[in-house]
């Protein structure tokens, strides 16, 4: 339970960071950009979690 919570918290932290970066880097902020950004940020967050775990467990 503790491990799942930790992974979820890390995923959420990465997602918030990447979503903030997306909103800063796009030129016009609208709903569609938000949806696309949310999806891309989720993919990025999964990749970041995986990369960090791969680095930590070597």
């Amino acid at each position: 339970m503790g491990r799942a919570a930790a992974v979820t918290a890390e995923l959420l932290a990465w997602w918030l960071l990447l979503m903030a970066a997306w909103l800063v880097f796009i030129s016009t902020v609208d709903a569609l950009e938000g949806f696309v950004g949310a999806g891309c940020a989720l993919l990025g967050a999964l990749a970041a979690c995986g990369a960090r775990r791969a680095m930590g467990e070597r």
Binding site: L23, F25, V29, R58
Partner: protein, 153 residues
């Protein structure tokens, strides 16, 4: 020609001219250091041109370069590790100069842009550029060799 374009031209001549020469001649250590510095110089030129031509989309080029440039240098540092290890090049002075120039340009462009999302984007680009340059320079000068040795057993 406004002040931004003049500054970009001078930076291109004074910063990137010597880089081309240093990349094309001399020992391998100097070439790698020069191409790493070239990333910073071109990135700053892009930021200045974006402001000079009033085209914010040029900032995207600087952003992409700030991310991909140091990655390219890390690849060189990894592949040329055997050639670089006998005489690791000194990068402190050039890294400091690049960080100083980046700070000056980003602060000036931020002041001209004014507060907003565009300014945050510029600050993120500048931070990525400085951080990438520091990490890549340290890798080239052999700063991560011990970590590498332990990671490969």
């Amino acid at each position: 020609m406004n002040g931004w374009l003049w500054t970009a031209t001078v930076l291109l001549a004074v910063g990137f001219g010597p880089v081309v020469w240093a990349v094309a001649t001399g020992p391998v250590g100097r070439r790698v250091v020069a191409q790493n510095f070239g990333t910073s110089a071109v990135c700053l030129v892009m930021l200045l041109l974006a402001q000079g031509y009033q085209r914010p989309s040029y900032t995207d080029l600087a952003l992409v370069l700030a991310v991909l440039g140091p990655v390219g240098t890390l690849v060189y540092a990894r592949l040329l590790a055997d050639d670089l290890s006998p005489h690791p090049p000194h990068t402190n002075l050039l890294t400091a100069a690049a960080a100083l120039a980046t700070t000056a340009v980003v602060v000036a462009v931020c002041a001209a842009t004014g507060p907003g999302r565009a300014m945050v984007k510029l600050l993120v680009t500048g931070a990525l550029l400085v951080a990438g340059n520091v990490i890549a320079s340290r890798a080239v000068s052999g700063g991560y060799r011990n970590a590498e040795a332990t990671s490969h057993g």
